[in-house]
């Protein structure tokens, strides 16, 4: 049986752990607020962008000269999975749920005889996917050194993806990230970004006939690559908010668990201490009686 001193040490170390998880929870909470604001600030831009694009695109999609980003390459043999995850762990199932979704998609595609390539953004996803699909990972990018996510980061990723698309390295690109619903709910999401999926507009929605300056066929090739960057940027921001949300709730759990452990350990410690005192008393009394 552990001595009283060992028990004291154990309780102290659990308390230290609890302090750390508590601090991490608080840090995550304050960062979450900022990340959430950033995600919300980016929403009007992304929404407007897709509204404008789908407006132009629905007219252009049928025409034979439609750009590749909209019409696709006409095949769907090679898939690029752009998997965005966090840089750090200690966030519950956040990273692994994104990875799981990507992995299941990849396995389904492989079973259909398609070719799969990975582009990993974020260290955690790369580490997990490397074990299964080491050869298929064509590129991975670390955002660890980035303190404040900017549009530049997303543009950077978009440029790399687009360069590969122009080289004919893949036909379909799907983006994986966790959508931020609330602190306790982050939904792993797959979104196809190349070729662009134009949302079907409601039949009775009024369509405004715009004048275009320059003409549609000149405007569209400029907008589409930009839209890819915007979608990636939105995914990164959603991901960031989701990460802190997941970290906050998992650290909250950890703090609670640590509290429970401290309570139990303290109880055992007190019982043992009381037992020892009783034992000593019995020894003294029986010693005195013998005299």
């Amino acid at each position: 049986m552990a001595s009283l001193k060992d028990m004291r040490v154990r309780i102290a170390s659990t308390k230290a752990t609890q302090k750390i998880t508590k601090a991490m929870q608080m840090v995550a909470a304050s960062r979450l607020r900022r990340a959430q604001q950033a995600a919300e600030a980016a929403r009007p831009y992304a929404d407007k962008m897709s509204a404008v694009i789908s407006n132009i695109a629905s007219a252009a999609a049928g025409s034979p000269g439609a750009p590749g980003l909209l019409a696709g390459t006409g095949r769907d043999q090679v898939h690029l999975l752009l998997v965005c995850t966090g840089e750090r762990g200690l966030s519950g199932a956040f990273n692994s749920s994104i990875v799981r979704l990507a992995r299941e998609r990849a396995q389904a595609l492989i079973a259909q005889g398609k070719e799969v390539k990975f582009f990993c953004v974020g260290r955690k996803g790369y580490e997990q996917l490397r074990r299964l699909f080491d050869k298929q990972i064509v590129e991975h990018l670390d955002l660890r050194s980035v303190r404040q996510l900017g549009f530049v980061n997303a543009e950077d990723i978009a440029k790399k993806v687009l360069a590969r698309f122009d080289n004919g390295e893949f036909d379909v690109c799907t983006l994986f990230y966790a959508q931020f619903k609330s602190v306790i709910a982050q939904i792993p999401t797959a979104q196809q970004i190349i070729p662009l999926v134009v949302e079907e507009k409601a039949a009775n929605a009024p369509t405004t006939s715009y004048e275009y300056e320059p003409e549609e066929d000149e405007l569209l090739p400029r907008l589409l690559p930009r839209n890819v960057a915007v979608q990636i940027f939105r995914a990164l921001l959603e991901n960031n908010a989701s990460f802190y949300g997941a970290q906050m709730s998992s650290m909250d759990n950890a703090t609670r668990n640590a509290g429970e452990m401290i309570r139990k350990q303290t109880q055992i410690y007190n019982r043992t201490r009381q037992a020892q005192i009783t034992k000593e008393l019995i020894e003294i009394i029986s010693g005195a009686e013998a005299v």
């Binding site: 600030a41 962008m49 549009f151 004048e211 275009y212 940027f233």
Partner: protein
């Protein structure tokens, strides 16, 4: 004077939102002003200075390319970057221009044309910045 709703959004933030009298936009094919009741239009924006006129007050914002959309008596400008003229870091801007000039020699063909146009736009912003004194 009739007003209309104007939103200036960049990927990072909502830079301006409110009722305005007039907005002058540096369009790709020439500057144009938007007043209330403008016909629906989608126009590309070149890097330049956008002027917002609301209640007799003028406000200038530097936009580095983007897209303008007018519909239902509201104007939305999706700017790649939007910085108000008071906030811009002039030395940094000058550095960007210098860097672009240097990189010009690496480019060729269509890309060179694009880079030259872009540089011209940036230079005209810089010229504007330096000639209009701050008040």
């Amino acid at each position: 004077m009739a007003t209309f709703h104007f939103d200036l959004v960049s990927p990072e933030k909502l830079a301006f939102s409110g009722e305005v009298d007039q907005v002058d936009i540096p369009g790709w094919e020439g500057d144009f002003g938007v007043l209330a009741g403008h016909a629906p239009v989608v126009a590309a924006v070149r890097p330049g200075i956008l002027t917002i006129i609301a209640g007799g007050q003028k406000q200038k914002v530097i936009v580095l390319g983007g897209l303008a959309e007018v519909s239902d008596n509201r104007l939305t400008v999706l700017a790649d970057v939007a910085t108000s003229i008071e906030e811009i870091d002039r030395t940094q801007f000058a550095d960007t221009v210098a860097e672009m000039e240097e990189k010009l020699s690496e480019k060729e063909g269509h890309e060179l044309d694009l880079a030259i146009t872009r540089l011209d736009n940036y230079k005209s912003i810089q010229h504007e910045l330096n000639t209009t004194a701050m008040h």
